[in-house]
């Protein structure tokens, strides 16, 4: 068991190296000359040359990549071209709101979506099932910021139940913190709920048709115990996989949700960096989130072995 975990953890190192190489090479993949684009239309030749030097585009790719990876390994993601501050410091200042938003959304989505999928599978073909699945299709079709504005308009502006925008740090109390996160996490969780509910329903349908479920029914076990203990446990692996994969949706969606609800997190940092064409900041954020994503899926793999002892690689 321990040997497997160690092997699995070590296996993520080459994955991270490939991710880092890919994120780094974006500078070279992008069509056109990034230095000219970043400098903008009013830039002089000296400006362009300075930016090219700053990005290291004047030196060979491999040399520059080796240098950059050494810095990344030491936890140095470079400096902002606009403020001159280290990117890690900028990320550190903004990480709390984003992390809060993502964790609250994750919990909310799992708590809502899994029972939804289970009930839909249990009553497959009923109006409840159709309603849930119609909601799931809608969830895939409405962009996160549209849901966000809709929720903010109805529940904050019209009904005045919750604050419209903003963020309160957790250190100022649990409720003020949560109050500001309810609407954003519902908006952000919309697609995620749709995704998890659909997979839960599909796997549960398969599991519920198996013999041991019939046995459980035959011996007089209650429906709730059958659904949530016997069936859900065996449907868990695909569901956990999708929860892991869906974190990519959360990361991308968080950038937009923060913009709608004026949350001063990494999304705001990203958008400011886009406006200023501050590429080192964007690169740092993308790299950090990609690593987070790889680590989340590492955790998912490790959870597998706890859920299904047969799984060994």
């Amino acid at each position: 068991m321990l040997g497997y975990i160690v092997r699995r953890v070590l296996a993520t190192i080459p994955v991270m190296a490939i991710v880092a190489l890919f994120v780094f090479s974006l500078l070279y993949i992008a069509p056109g000359d990034p230095a000219v684009v970043i400098a903008g239309d009013q830039a002089s030749l000296e400006d362009i040359e300075r930016i090219r030097k700053g990005l290291g585009l004047d030196r060979p790719f491999l040399v520059r990549f080796a240098e950059w990876s050494l810095h990344v390994v030491r936890g140095d993601l470079g400096k902002s071209m606009f403020t001159g501050l280290p990117v890690t410091e900028l990320i550190g200042q903004r990480i709390e709101p984003t992390l809060s938003l993502m964790v609250v959304t994750l919990i909310l989505a799992v708590v809502v979506a899994v029972p939804m999928g289970v009930v839909a599978a249990w009553r497959a073909g009923s109006w409840l099932d159709r309603g849930f699945m119609a909601f799931a299709v809608a969830g895939f079709s409405v962009p996160v910021f549209v849901v966000g504005y809709l929720l903010a308009y109805v529940f904050a502006l019209e009904l005045d139940w919750l604050p419209v925008q903003g963020y309160t740090p957790l250190s100022r109390g649990l409720w003020p913190w949560l109050e500001n996160l309810i609407l954003p996490s519902i908006a952000l969780g919309f697609v995620y709920i749709a995704l998890i509910a659909r997979i839960t329903r599909a796997t549960m349908l398969e599991v519920l048709s198996q013999d041991y479920i019939r046995t459980a029914r035959a011996k007089g076990l209650g429906e709730r115990a059958i659904l949530f203990l016997h069936a859900l446990k065996n449907a868990a692996v695909p569901i956990v996989t999708v929860i892991g994969i869906g974190v990519a949706l959360l990361i991308g969606g968080a950038v937009v949700t923060e913009s709608v609800f004026a949350i001063p997190g990494l999304g705001r940092l990203t958008i400011d960096a886009i406006v200023r064409r501050d590429y080192p900041v964007i690169q740092g954020i993308v790299l950090m989130f990609s690593f987070v994503y790889v680590l989340v899926n590492l955790m998912v793999d490790l959870i597998y072995t706890a859920l299904d002892p047969r799984i060994r690689y």
């Binding site: 991710v19 992008a30 990519a248 949706l249 969606g253 958008i271 990609s290």
Partner: protein, 305 residues
């Protein structure tokens, strides 16, 4: 000898008496309505998408004005007789912008779907069939897929000029590894099939096996995947434009119209509302089409999802 005519009965052949109608006749629905009856999801999706396509094609003749014409005097007018969907902060007609926006948004969606499918198909076929390159190609695909698609598109857009072509390229790069993975999976299971082994034994050349025996069987899942990519690309385009990393701000794409309404949303929510409805409906149509296609092409999956 004509066996089908009863009157010319041969000696020794008994003619069966006509069976009485025990079973009620199966009412077979034919034509367009029969298709709609058998594939309701697919039909609704096609209908929505069809309407959006017509809107995109006939935008200039649907009572629109120049979608980029500024009229500061008439800015932020509520929806009414002059401006059906209202006017934005520069006095531009939102109705016209939304209708012309259909061209950009659908154009981006379709282009990405076609490009990503083609690229993913080629890479998936090669990688699934040639073991030597498979390892390397799939590790690279894993690397690309580890970067959340929206962030990948954002960073590419930060490095290039804002243009519709670059948005299409950026979203394609973010989406094609999923197609490659899918195609590779199908190829891996197909190459173990007896008929492929038979073709190999018969001495069929590798390119011919790929084109004649493998490729046709990847088409069904590929079509389904392409529709989902189209929907996802339209959403990513709107998100990119919304946060200022997409098509040039003057281009009337649905994301850009909504980005224009961002600062005014508390007082003039209709600026965001109308493009949002069109975008959501279009993506819904595409997703329904995808679900319908999947059900029609793979009836076993239909029961599950």
């Amino acid at each position: 000898m004509n066996l089908h005519t009863h009157d010319a009965a041969q000696p020794g052949f008994a003619i069966a008496a006509e069976l009485p109608d025990i079973l009620p006749p199966v009412r077979e629905r034919r034509g367009v309505w029969g298709f709609v009856w058998r594939h309701p999801t697919l039909s609704i999706g096609l209908a929505i998408l069809g309407v959006m396509l017509l809107i995109a094609i006939f935008a200039p003749w649907l009572g629109t004005v120049d979608p980029t014409a500024l009229a500061p005097v008439k800015r932020t007018r509520e929806p009414g007789a002059e401006f059906w969907f209202g006017s934005d902060a520069y006095g531009r007609d939102i109705y016209s912008r939304v209708l012309y926006g259909a061209r950009i948004s659908l154009g981006v969606g379709f282009s990405v779907a076609i490009l990503a499918s083609a690229l993913g198909l080629v890479i998936g076929l090669v990688s699934g069939y040639l073991r030597r390159v498979d390892g390397i190609v799939m590790r690279v695909m894993d690397g690309v897929m580890s970067v959340p698609p929206i962030l990948l598109a954002i960073s590419l857009m930060a490095l290039t000029r804002a243009s519709v072509q670059n948005v299409i390229l950026a979203i394609t790069i973010a989406e094609f590894p999923r197609v490659a993975r899918l195609v590779r999976g199908v190829v891996l299971s197909l190459r173990e099939q007896p008929y492929v082994e038979a073709a190999i034994t018969a001495g069929t050349s590798t390119p011919r096996i790929i084109v004649r025996h493998i490729l046709p069987n990847t088409m069904a899942p590929l079509c389904v995947q392409a529709t989902y990519i189209c929907g996802s690309a339209m959403i990513i385009e709107s998100i990119l434009s919304f946060i200022g990393a997409g098509t040039p701000p003057t281009t009337p794409s649905w994301g850009n119209i909504m980005a224009d309404g961002r600062t005014l949303w508390q007082v003039k929510p209709y600026i965001i509302f109308f493009p949002a409805i069109f975008l959501s409906l279009s993506v819904l149509g595409i997703n329904l089409l995808g679900d319908g296609l999947r059900d029609a092409l793979d009836p076993r999956m239909a029961k599950r999802l």
